[in-house]
Symmetry: C2
Subunit: 85 residues, 2 copies
Amino acid sequence: MTAKGTTRLKVTVMPKNGVLDPQGKAIEKALGGLGFDAVGEVRVGKVMLLDVAEGDPAKARALGEDMARRLLANTVIESFQVEVA
Amino acid sequence: MTAKGTTRLKVTVMPKNGVLDPQGKAIEKALGGLGFDAVGEVRVGKVMLLDVAEGDPAKARALGEDMARRLLANTVIESFQVEVA
């Protein structure tokens, strides 16, 4: 799906353990209200798919980690994971 | 990390191809502004981790798909994927 010399990165950003996740709590409640009683904890994060003009997967990944640290994640309260998709 | 008889599901929700993704566009611009010139298209979605009190992975997954269809995804504009995490 990507052109030659480009790499698709998948960056997943999740709230760190112990950090309050109001979005997750809201989903828990809403699912309970719909009768999904089996649902316990819900945590909500973001996933970003980025096309990067870098053919070397290792370099693309390093670039992704740099972008995550500088913009995509708030590393005080969020952890991130960069994969080559 | 989960108790016996529980399954952790990962539900990923992405905007469908062709659907405008303003969040992705904003990230593209912001990354360009930071000097990350190699970045092409960015698409942003949600990822949800749910603990479900169902020991059978296949049943848990079916439950996750039901939840995604009824609440977690807007299937008009979003596609979803349910995995056992």
